[in-house]
Subunit: 340 residues, 2 copies
Amino acid sequence: MTNMTIYDISEKAGVSIATVSRVLNGSNNVSEKTKKKVLDVINQYEYTPNAFARGLGLNSMNTIGLMCADSSDLYLAKAIYYIEQLLRANGYDSILCCSGYDLESKEKAMDVLISKKVDSVILIGSNYIYEKDEDNKYIVDAAAQVPVMLLNAAFDAPNVYSIVSDDFTSMYEATTQMIHSGISDILYFYNSTSYSGKRKLAGYRTAMEEHGLLKSGNLMQFYSGSHEDIHAMGSQLEKAAEKGLSFHGVIAADDNLALGAVKYAQNAGLRIPEDLAIVGYNNSLLTTCCTPELTSIDNKLETLCQHLITTLMGVLTGNEMPKKTIFSGEIISRGTTFSK
Amino acid sequence: MTNMTIYDISEKAGVSIATVSRVLNGSNNVSEKTKKKVLDVINQYEYTPNAFARGLGLNSMNTIGLMCADSSDLYLAKAIYYIEQLLRANGYDSILCCSGYDLESKEKAMDVLISKKVDSVILIGSNYIYEKDEDNKYIVDAAAQVPVMLLNAAFDAPNVYSIVSDDFTSMYEATTQMIHSGISDILYFYNSTSYSGKRKLAGYRTAMEEHGLLKSGNLMQFYSGSHEDIHAMGSQLEKAAEKGLSFHGVIAADDNLALGAVKYAQNAGLRIPEDLAIVGYNNSLLTTCCTPELTSIDNKLETLCQHLITTLMGVLTGNEMPKKTIFSGEIISRGTTFSK
DNA sequence: ATTGGAGATGAAAGCACTTACAATATTACC
DNA sequence: GGTAATATTGTAAGTGCTTTCATCTCCAAT
């Protein structure tokens, strides 16, 4: 922690700097005797090698770039937390970069991280993959420099690894379950058409189609997924109902939207779940805030993160790792739906 | 973005590397003509200087260490978000380190950040300052290396800067307001005795004392402040009520605890606010999840963060800056209290 | 006693920048 | 046109590590 250099240590220990460097890096080409001698000096003076010089020599400072649209988003914040913990446990540090949701900002953020010489970039969230391939160029470019890890999105390119949850199946099952509970007019309430957004929607559609219940009027998009807008979400449902849209169930693409539906039901004096059953997505802490509490789909974020880090560590040590991994989610039943 | 060095650029531009370095660092000792010439080459080849070599030469990589107990905590996550944005706007990047709540982990986390050669460390949250001075040694040590910024805590030491909200006054006013609304048996529900925890409590005590209403039995501590425990929080209140404790108001030290009180009231069939008025703290998104919505104290986090960064930037450029700044909070009245 | 080879060590050349200082070019002024 | 002052540029010495390669030590095998 002092400002000594490797030269000071080598002098005090009576060895060359090469030897000090070797014990610093755990090389086994050092005799036990001199290793101990050097370590003693290092501990005595609380010497810490200069990280920049180390970085220059090794071309790495053991840092990983974490990118997400908004680190204050409930779900993303949890992911950041898990990932940071896991990385540090593996000897890596995290440099965080909130990119926002537009492509240009993402490209800029990516440049920042790459120019910081991170060992890898982890893109947290399904909004980093675009329809058009040219819009994903910034990812391909980054992957030419360092491995790129995607959480909740998948993209097939060299040096890009994807960890996703099976959103399609989760939504398919949630929808099927609601149909089986006797509800046939189910609204799908969503905001994003991101990678996972599309798969969720497809899960709903497939389940509805299989029962001959799909009506295009029951797909309702809201412009935002932000918590601040839950009242506006509620209003939108209210207006739709006033205009004659009839629905006794809402499947929402995330918990904020589901909470909007709860707000709507409460304002309209509807009983939950008798008059309106509601399912959310992400199983965030929002689920336990409202009354009744919210049924939601848990996509096993911690497991996804663990697997992501395992994969990344494998890649960084030069191992062949799977390019895409899929995990199943789970429906957590609470008060806003009928128990099976 | 390529792997060129300053030598390549100097060669292609027909100047020395010193000149390239000068334009890279915005030195004004370069003629416009050569500056343009060099910039053209840099842009043409998309050259980015090697961050490690730069760090070694400048002894800085323009990164700031962000430390918080748990980045997935609602309030801390918001702080991280604001700070990261502001830092990046000022040309700095953030390396994130979630320290947990125990001292030893914090010391370790601090070592990690310092050894990464950050330009400053920002401690986010009131739990970084301890009663005993020896427990704050890790901060003093860190401050010997780089400026240390405290958000929501204050500590007087060289090179340590504190940005706090006036928790005492906020709590004093919230309590006074509740008393004036006609409630005299007000429970104080808290978990932490951190820097701001103590000040909040003092605000409540002072207000109650001034009205001769303070009863020590009305101070109720809960072991955790975590959202997962809201049901347990509710149970604790329920048990206390069953044992004969009477209260018609709850002032909670944060929104999670307040939500616990809401859960209790709902389970016990109490009307809010008629039978039980509730005030939370932090004005987090939890406030709008429950019904009725939660009155809470907003401590102007964004303002605090802005001021913190302003102060930090001043310090880093060698200016004299105030060691401690205090901002007022504001009570946001919602449905869990009587409107004034 | 001799040789070969493994294991331990050191000298020195990177790594890609910054910057003090010296050298040169340019301008200003008489 | 000459000189001093100033603006611009280059040389070279850091910055603190890693690592290759050569050297040296030591011991087992012959």
